[in-house]
Symmetry: C2
Subunit: 205 residues, 2 copies
DNA sequence: CTCTATTCGTGAAAAAAAGCACAGAATTTG
DNA sequence: CAAATTCTGTGCTTTTTTTCACGAATAGAG
């Protein structure tokens, strides 16, 4: 069952399922069904069951899923029992905002370092984090056990910064710069192109 | 040719093609080929041609596409000859950052208003925009010709705010709150769930 | 304890998206 | 100016993702 290739969207949805199950669990709901979860996320019940099916059988026919058990199962599948340390590269408007953004903590995503090229920004402290020169990157990534990097530099610097991150041992990059990064196969990049997303929205208006 | 249903991804990619064509055009490159564009975006040349093919034939065999003509064609298809006015709802960390963010302007995406529930924030000015109470929404959306709304409120308020926006006549919403919004069919929502995107990244690490 | 109403798990079918491959058209080269 | 090369546009194929639909299992009512 583990050997089938898992659709890209499945993993992302599993995180959403976990969030919903937690919410329902918090409302003292003991049992959830695939359709309950589906309704809350605008997905079909079949989709929910199929996604879960990639990893095993967690429910009981006729009853649904025990909220607590499903929560535990998802946390285990998704390795949600550990913290992830992240760094921001490019402490401009967006980078600073992400450093201050309070929404990551509850998902155990912690920004623990920030880098910038601009000498004037070095040493400044945002959200308790002192901005370091990018020359520190390799050392800091190791010493602070950073596994995710968020690139918020201008487009022109993104590839250079990406190369440095890869050399420093980073395998997960979230890229806000509107350029396609060139990275080795074993490095995962998630592009977040806000302008493009907004523009796409306008098309369907 | 127009009648085939256009894949969701196609539109988003077309905006990327336009960006690349502009960049190449800026380098005084007269002619671009589907493979040139594809390489720059990590897409196959076939994909580029197929996407363009939904809207017509813009190239010449053997030569490729005239950069300037393709640019014009894409701008026309994507209605990039107009400005889009946007508002931010929720002037917290993220909302403020987006207001200040300089990356939208070059795509003619302008944030022209901001709303918040928190009385203490009303009247404050960020990036030249005075934060208004949400009661003003319906009026301001009309008077400032706003067609896109960006929701950066906490999850708990997102649905309420979304309802207000819809009532005010908004048809495009970019939603940063990690909840699925319930909206009428003719309202398009683009979810940007940063935590989920980061988490998904961790899975493949 | 039996009957009914649910709900799961999962192959099989359908739909959507991406990639292939090649005829034909245009350009460049020698 | 003919031959070689380049590159588009597109029908067809393949792959990927989603939906369907139904047997089997279970809970709960009576």
């Amino acid at each position: 069952m583990r050997e089938k290739k898992i659709p890209v969207g499945t993993i992302s949805r599993l995180f959403a399922y976990l969030r919903e199950v937690k919410a329902l669990s918090g409302l003292n709901i003991r049992t959830v069904s695939s359709s309950t979860i589906g309704e809350r996320l605008n997905l079909s019940d079949a989709q929910v069951r199929k996604d879960l099916g990639f990893f095993g059988s967690f429910g009981t026919s006729g009853a649904g899923y025990n909220a607590n058990e499903l929560k535990k199962a998802l946390e285990s599948i998704l390795r949600k029992n550990q913290d992830w340390n992240m760094c921001v590269v490019g402490a401009g408007r967006l980078g600073s905002a992400l450093m201050i953004y309070p929404g990551f903590a509850k998902d155990r995503l912690n920004i623990v370092a920030a880098f910038d090229i601009n000498a004037r920004k070095i040493g400044k402290t945002i959200a308790g984090i002192s901005i370091e020169p990018i020359e520190n990157m390799a050392d800091t990534v190791v010493s602070k056990k950073i596994s995710i990097a968020i690139i918020t530099t201008p487009a022109g610097q993104a590839q250079f910064v990406s190369d440095m991150l890869v050399k420093s041992g980073i395998h997960c990059i979230m890229n806000f710069a509107p350029v396609k990064l060139n990275v080795p196969e074993d490095v995962k990049v998630e592009d977040v192109d806000l302008s493009r997303a907004l523009e796409t929205l306008t098309f369907f208006a």
